[in-house]
Subunit: 246 residues, 3 copies
């Protein structure tokens, strides 16, 4: 364990033996950090906030939290959490194993991610969002929850397993991206994207099945993506058998 | 008053008795911080810059500045300033009471906001913007000011009282969003949005009066929004009597 | 030379005599900082990473790195580097002289910029991008490289000399913006934008030559922009003779 001498550690903090904590980082009270985890500099973990349903913050094994990241009290993550720099995660956010969230991403809290979810840089996840397993969200995508802002009604989007939301998309309140779907770049999604379909444009329209997008290497369908891309996934996370013709 | 021992305080700084200042925060010279104010960690207030019209920085009573925020010298805010994390506010920015500005927002300076203005996360406000009272701007909205970039001509947008700009919109140089209007998500606004109208699309088009958007709860017009949403506004800030048929 | 007492300096670091380094900044090992350079607070320069082709980080003369910026080991910049706040630059990024990169910008590494390139706030540059000389990229523009994400194929965009990409645009994988072109705000670029043309819309369409955009001051063509805007460019950087009728 290496805790830099300038780091500030609160009360009731549990830190495993093989954890590194960088300079100028603040670990607030009631944080648990499991083994083989690296925490960069200028991070704040376990920021206290009276909106958290619990006071604890759980960082599990094999995690990497890059510098300038902020995680509020009341969050929990499975093993293998990896953040970019300047990630902000508010209270009551839960994610399964191997959650990766890119630089500048802003998770507003009161939301959940399944296992093996990957957010690229500068993704904005609104409150009450529900994200399944093995979902990818690309840069500058924004999930929204208020149908007529400002109001007290919050209906965060749902993204189901294995779906992809490409760069610069907006998911409107209450939208649902069903399993194995593909939302193209700069798309504004309203309502439901059916299983295994492509949604593109503003307003977003369903233009066909994902199987019509061909891989530039082998010329076969590029989706479901786990046919050709399996890097970094643990055994069993991705289907071994799949149907290109949803 | 609690100033963390690692904070750095410049010269000619005035800090009221009941102010808290977090670890690793820098208060540069000529900053005034009034009572009942909390300033998080890793903040820089009063960053000196020769573009500021004055050297002072005024943080009034009852303010909350969250961690990693940066405010330049030459800015002033009314009571009740609330920032998210990583907010950047450049010189010659002025706002009235209860200005709320979300995480990652970037205010470029030489601009003004009225009373009770609320910016959500990652809003970009260009120089020479003028924003009225009780305006809402939602995430990833960008105000722009150069009609043929790069040039020396700057004509920042105007947003008038009670108007709403939804997620991911761009206000082109010289655009004017008149009072009580609604700019929909992912809209590119050019020219004028008349009072009480809805502008949507790229390029943005006026598609009707805001009164045609119905509240999902009570089925009545959702706009003007202050009919159904008044949380957090002080007495007198919002009209008590209003006309749904602008 | 003024290195704040709270700054942390690694091994094998070379710092010229007239360099200032702000509070709480970390200079990792193998960083070279040349003369007349100012580095703000909370910066991390030379972040070690096994993806860097070299271990060194070169900050040349007359540079300004604003607070909260992060630069990885394996990057090199010509004289006159200027960053906004919270800039993130990953490994194997190279830029020529006078590179200016605005607040919140996120450069993902493995990419290059020529001389006198200017990025405004919150620009996202993907891996394998190639950017020429005297290019301007405006806020919230995203360059993307994966034609069917996620995949192992990376084909970053190319932006050639003197071209402009306006606010909120997305350059799709493999797109090429040829010399002296203008991509309008909120445009999604696919394929090639020919020399001296305007591309606007989603999907982006070529709508004419840049010479048809007239300067609001003198009524002459606003492009090529260096006819009327030359502020901050060194002698010889911009053409003295040019043709408005590409």
């Amino acid at each position: 364990m290496t805790i830099h001498e300038t780091a500030i550690i609160g009360q009731n903090v549990t830190i495993a033996d093989d954890v590194n904590i960088g300079p100028f980082t603040i670990i607030h009270s009631n944080v648990e950090i499991a083994g083989n985890t690296n925490i960069g500099s200028y991070c704040e973990l376990g920021v206290p906030n009276n909106l958290g349903k619990v006071d604890t913050t759980i960082i599990d094994t094999d995690s990497t939290i890059r510098s300038h990241s902020i995680i509020y009290a009341g969050c929990g993550f499975g093993p293998g959490l990896t953040t970019g720099h300047r990630v902000t995660i508010r209270e009551n956010t839960y994610a399964g194993i191997n959650f990766q969230v890119g630089t500048l991403s802003d998770i507003q809290g009161d939301c959940s991610m399944g296992d093996n979810v990957r957010f690229h840089s500068n993704v904005h996840i609104c409150k009450t969002s529900k994200i399944g397993n093995c979902v990818w969200v690309f840069p500058f995508t924004v999930l929204t929850n208020d149908p007529h802002p400002p109001s007290e009604i919050l209906t965060g989007p749902i993204i189901e397993d294995f779906s992809i939301v490409a760069t610069g998309s907006i998911l409107l309140p209450g939208s649902i991206v069903r399993k194995n779907s593909m939302v193209g770049a700069a798309t504004v999604v309203k309502g439901e994207v059916p299983i295994g379909t492509i949604c593109v444009g503003n307003p977003g329209k369903i233009v066909g099945k994902t199987s019509k997008i061909l891989h530039k290497g082998d010329g076969k369908p590029a989706y479901p993506w786990y046919r050709h891309f399996r890097r970094g996934y643990p055994a069993g996370a991705l289907p071994e058998i799949f149907d290109e013709n949803f």
